[in-house]
């Protein structure tokens, strides 16, 4: 078994990053000009890394499958971004953000990485504001904050319900600035299909030009995968239709270990599924839980309308079960609680797979405050509701509109119906402290890596991590590797490794087209999604996981014998693109089940029904499972498990409690 | 070396020329309308002819006339250029385009309305201006001024011509209905407080001025003013 070295610097937790950064080998400016770096993906992590590396003087090639880097799925993040600024003077600090994140991740993240994340979190806000990102402000002109789940301070910065959009457009503008200066070459509508490895080091990629179908060879001194998460393995998720695991999976097959694949985040507040036609699920930001109260009827199978159920017949189950955090418990806890209520028969709506998110009380409360401001004393309820609705509209207007569009119901009048849905994957390519995978020269950033969130990510931390990796971590740590690569000449593109990688990519595309079966790609994707949701979803058990593995293996056989992909490979062919992605999802799905089966404990988003406390909370097994599972690909869809022990030296590991 | 660069040739610059010349032409309309309105005195055209005489002999006005034609020419030439460039920006048209769902028909038809106005102008200028400047007005009135009024009375006996004038003024009204506030927008004068005022004023201006113009041939044809 290969030794997994996370390369965590020596010294005090609080000094590790500062010391490392100051002692990191540097590359001098004239050498930087001749070093090429390939960045795959243009979301928060990819765009910020590409822009920063180009600013530093490297030659950068950036790839995205969308028609513009501005469309990467980071754009859809709604609620906010955390930073330990303590602007609200409510006791926040780097340590507290670090602590909340480790605890929120159910003690399955690396201390050193998380502390670094907390340290640079404040720089991100500064950088974004300097770029002109219009974060929300108060009348005094200073930045505003709101609360998110799993914390008791207000440290979330936001831009209405479009924080991800604004942050991404900031990074995108920095990227386009470099494109304009000719320092970044942008390849849109390109999909990475292979990593090229020469003498054990990543030296390039094979990318398919989606417009022409042409396979292109691109060489570089290092390859950065910033390709996002793999939530679409479930078919229905809040991810974009194009979000995929292909880049990460190809890297995995070339030697990069895959970390904690079974850690998936199920977001508690999504719009419920309305029918078989559904292609994706839409999130209702966690920030809504600031002002919404979650409840179900106390009576089973209650068919009354929400407005007809009196107050004392409502079960505010989160407030009942977790009085300290109430509606602001972390996502995994909130999701499971919703599932528990629905499974027990208290669900609402047509499908009975939904709970209410009710804004009435807070609308009235805001209205009362507004009335006071406007010198209306003793306002009646109607006035309060009217004024309060205005406040709610300003805070969450776009989310409410979105809800109304999708469901056809007015959330200002009726409580929202919500249900958990797949949202984020904490697992990803295993990386060391420098964000390098087990293949030298191959890095993974943002959601594509496994690093900072443990078994559950706290709200508003994904944006923080993506930008931390891209702006403030990788541009430093990559110097350590590149400074040793100065002597390496660029790999000629007719090198056998390129030829072989291209041939293998081409063979797969040809195979898809040659099957000429009867079922579409989506048919298999939906089937895979159903298996994953049923067997490896919000709750898992040994029997189900074993069944899941068998079913996925069967599905894989059918896929490769009965797939139908129309068109050809030398043109724009979205079905062919999807086929490649789903083929990889099927293999990944199997690994996820294996990982979930291996982890005989419950932690964060990974809930094994066999391992729970009497109150139904996740029951960790720190003695046997305080490790990162890092899976090595052994060929032919077989995997070998490696373990990276997690040491907690600065934090007391405890049963997570939000009561 | 600092220069104006593409200040006028850029897309915004071209619109600036349209906006400024447009507003200038609007100011001309006011003057023209005022002079024409002198017929209301109904004194057989004596006051009107006096106004016309002033306009024809005052050197400032004569100088402005040159500017007016230059402005008009610029407005027309630039207008046509814009129409053709804008058509070229969409070589393939939509099979179905529901423009009325998002904009007023006259705002999308400025080129057409402008062309109608141009045809009218050619007729109008050849009827009155050419005569008063070059071929000469045949008679004089009691004050010894050229009797332009008599020419008008004569001209507007033709119902077809009256109809042309009225239709042209309808075109002008729609042209102004968009053009007036559009010019301000192009000049960058969009302000939450003032824009509603400009729009309101523009609306009434676009109705009243063409209406007054249209009334002149009508009242003359009907013989209300002699």
């Amino acid at each position: 078994m290969a030794e997994l070295n996370a390369h965590i610097p020596e010294g005090e937790l609080t000094d590790k990053w500062t010391k490392l950064r100051s002692s990191m080998p540097l590359v001098n400016p004239s050498n930087k000009r001749s070093i090429e770096i390939i960045v795959v993906g243009s979301g928060l992590a990819g765009a910020s890394a590409a822009a920063t590396l180009a600013e530093m003087g490297y030659k950068v090639k950036c790839f995205c499958f969308q028609d513009s880097p501005r469309r990467a799925h980071s754009i859809a993040a709604q609620g906010g971004i955390n930073a330990a600024k303590n602007y609200q003077n409510d006791g926040d600090s780097t340590y507290r953000l670090f602590y909340d994140t480790i605890k929120g991740g159910d003690y399955r993240a690396r201390e050193a990485n998380v502390h670094r994340l907390a340290e640079v979190s404040t720089n991100i806000i500064d950088q974004c504001v300097a770029q002109g990102v219009p974060l929300a402000r108060e009348y005094g002109g200073l930045l505003d904050n709101r609360s998110f789940g799993g914390t008791q301070v207000q440290r979330t910065f936001y831009a209405a319900g479009q924080t991800g959009q604004q942050l991404l457009l900031g990074a995108y503008s920095a990227l386009e600035r470099q494109v304009g200066m000719g320092k970044v070459e942008m390849f849109t509508r390109h999909e990475m299909l292979e990593v090229v490895v020469v003498e054990g080091k990543a030296k390039g990629i094979i990318a398919r030009n989606l417009l022409t179908g042409e396979l292109e060879r691109h060489s570089g001194h290092a390859v950065l995968l910033c390709s996002g998460g793999y939530g679409n393995v479930f078919y229905l998720s809040t991810n974009a239709m194009g979000s995929n695991v292909t880049a990460a999976w190809k890297a995995h097959k070339k030697g990069a270990f895959f970390g904690n694949p079974c850690y998936t985040q199920i977001h508690p507040t999504c719009i419920p599924v309305s029918g078989d036609h559904q292609s994706k699920l839409t999130l209702m930001s966690e920030s809504l839980r600031n002002d919404g109260r979650i409840w179900v009827p106390k009576k089973k199978d209650d068919t009354r309308k929400a407005s007809e159920i009196p107050e004392d017949e409502r079960d505010y189950y989160l407030e009942r079960r977790y009085p300290a955090f109430g509606n602001l418990v972390p996502r995994d806890v909130a999701s499971r609680a919703a599932k528990e209520r629905c499974d027990a028969g208290y669900g609402v709506g047509k499908s009975k797979l939904a709970v209410y998110l009710d804004f009435k009380e807070n609308t009235e409360r805001y209205g009362r405050i507004e009335a006071n401001k406007n010198n209306i004393h003793n306002p009646d309820k109607e006035t309060c509701m009217k004024l309060g609705r205005e406040v709610i509209k300003e805070k969450y207007g776009n989310l409410f509109d979105m809800y109304a569009q999708i469901t056809g119901e007015d959330p200002y009048e009726l409580p929202m119906r919500i249900y958990p849905a797949v949202h984020y994957t904490m697992g990803g390519l295993w990386v060391d402290y420098n964000l390098m995978t087990t293949v030298p020269g191959l890095y993974a950033l943002g959601e594509a890596n496994f690093s900072d969130h443990g078994a559950n990510r706290l709200g508003a931390s994904a944006l923080m991590q993506g930008l931390a990796d891209g702006y403030f971590v990788l541009p430093y740590t990559i110097g350590a590797y590149l400074s040793k690569e100065l002597a390496t000449k660029p790999i000629p593109q007719d090198h056998p490794a390129f030829v072989e990688a291209e041939a293998s990519a081409k063979a797969i595309l040809d195979k898809f087209l040659s099957i000429k079966g009867t079922k579409s790609v989506d048919h298999f994707h939906k089937k895979l999604g159903k298996i994953m949701w049923d067997k490896c979803g919000m709750a898992r058990n040994e029997k189900g996981l074993k069944e899941g593995i068998a079913e996925i293996q069967q599905l894989r056989k059918e896929f490769w014998s009965d797939l139908r992909v129309p068109g050809s490979s030398d043109e724009m062919n979205p079905e062919l693109e999807k086929a490649g992605r789903v083929a990889d999802f099927i293999e990944l799905g199997e690994l996820m089940c294996m990982d979930a089966l291996n982890r005989n404990e419950s932690c964060g988003g990974h809930f094994r029904e066999e391992y729970q406390t009497e109150e139904g909370e996740a029951l960790r097994d720190d003695e046997n499972y305080a490790y990162v599972s890092a899976w090595e690909y052994k060929g032919d869809v077989t995997f070998e498990l490696h373990k990276e022990e997690l040491k907690f030296e600065n934090i007391k590991v405890a049963q997570r409690s939000y009561k | 070396m600092a220069s104006f660069g593409n200040a006028f040739s850029s897309s915004i610059g071209k619109k600036l020329i349209m906006g400024i010349t447009g507003l200038f032409l609007i100011s001309f309309l006011v003057v023209h309308c005022f002079i024409n309105a002198l017929i209301i005195v109904n004194d057989g055209g004596l006051t009107f002819n006096m106004g016309a005489h002033f306009m024809g002999t005052n050197w400032i006005i004569r100088a402005m006339e040159v500017v007016l034609f230059a402005g008009l020419l610029a407005h027309i030439v630039q207008g046509f250029r814009l129409v053709f460039q804008n058509r070229a920006a969409r070589p393939e048209r939509y099979a179905v385009n529901n423009g009325s769902a998002n904009s007023k028909w006259y705002s999308r038809s400025m080129g057409l309305l402008g062309t109608l106005l141009l045809i009218f102008l050619i007729v109008h200028v050849s009827k009155f201006w050419v005569m008063s400047r070059f071929t000469g007005i045949p008679t004089v009135d009691a004050n010894g001024n050229h009797d332009l009024f008599a020419v008008m009375v004569e001209t507007f006996k033709d119902p077809l011509l009256v109809l042309l004038y009225v239709l042209a003024m309808v075109s002008l009204a729609y042209h102004l209905l968009h053009g007036f506030s559009s010019a301000f927008q192009t000049l960058g004068w969009n302000h939450k407080k003032y824009t509603p005022l400009i729009k309101g004023f523009g609306f009434w201006f676009s109705i009243i001025i063409p209406l007054l113009f249209a009334l002149m041939p009508i009242v003359m044809y009907l013989g209300c003013i002699k």
Partner: protein, 256 residues
């Protein structure tokens, strides 16, 4: 496979590639559920086409929640369809009636050439941003975010301009295929923030020059862009950009 009861006729623009000649093709689709989104209805259609061995309709789409700006269909003569303030992916079939005929075309503009079927090339927008739609601040150069108080009204107004998703509906609907609303949204966002001041007049000049070079038409203030913008970007931004452009050309001594 779908569960609804609506029957529709679709007239969809099909075009093999940029060079080929395209045309409207009729498709019948049945059992459409009113709860489906417009794109999910296209998914169903494409499943049918694949099953029949025909080539599915190609269209851009990604997030399907109205924020990425990828989807771009001209539906019954309007970008993003008949409803206001939403993108195509947010349009639901309950906005149509059983028996309707729906015409779907790609965005049409010289600067947005058709790639295939309903998919167009919008990289002109990226080039406009690359020409100046940014604040030149390298990573690590920032001061503390609260050192620069910005009045809320101004910050909100900048945010409203920044809400643009770059979908191109403004260009698609403009009778002149003008990109002024898109360009002005970025110019205006940065011009209203103190951070954007140092490059304010350079920015507007370079972005307008790039916009013109891309072959977009000229703005004639019809207001169609504002009416059709899924994010409600205001015409005020265009006026603001015009002002800045004149200041840059006629007041500033720097020329670019």
């Amino acid at each position: 496979m779908s569960t609804g009861n609506m029957n529709l006729t679709l007239k969809i623009w099909r075009q093999k590639n940029n060079k080929a000649k395209g045309g409207l093709v009729d498709y019948k689709i049945s059992e459409v559920s009113p709860d489906m989104s417009f794109l999910e209805m296209f998914d169903v259609l494409n499943e049918d086409l694949v099953a029949k061995g025909e080539e599915p309709v190609v269209f851009d789409h990604d997030c399907r929640e109205g924020i990425c700006g990828a989807c771009s269909m001209f539906i019954d003569g309007r970008p993003h369809g008949p409803k206001e303030g939403i993108t195509t992916c947010q349009l639901h079939m309950r906005s149509f009636n059983d028996g309707d005929t729906i015409v779907v075309e790609p965005w049409r503009a010289k600067a947005f050439p058709v790639i295939k079927d309903l998919m167009v090339d919008r990289t002109a927008f990226d080039r406009i941003i690359a020409s100046g739609g940014f604040i030149s601040v390298n990573t690590g150069n920032a001061q503390d975010a609260n050192n620069l108080p910005i009045p809320k009204v101004q910050a909100d107004s900048a945010f409203e301009a920044a809400a643009c998703i770059g979908c191109g509906a403004c260009v698609a609907t403009c009778k002149n295929a003008s990109a002024m609303l898109f360009v002005s949204a970025k110019v205006s966002q940065l011009a209203q923030l103190p951070q954007g001041q140092p490059e304010r007049y350079r920015r507007v000049q370079s972005m307008v020059a790039q916009m013109d070079a891309e072959g977009f038409g000229n703005c004639t203030n019809t207001g169609a862009c504002e009416a059709e913008c899924p994010k409600g970007i205001s015409l005020e931004n265009i006026a603001r950009m015009n002002r800045d452009f004149y200041s840059a050309k006629f007041v500033s001594e720097e020329s670019i």
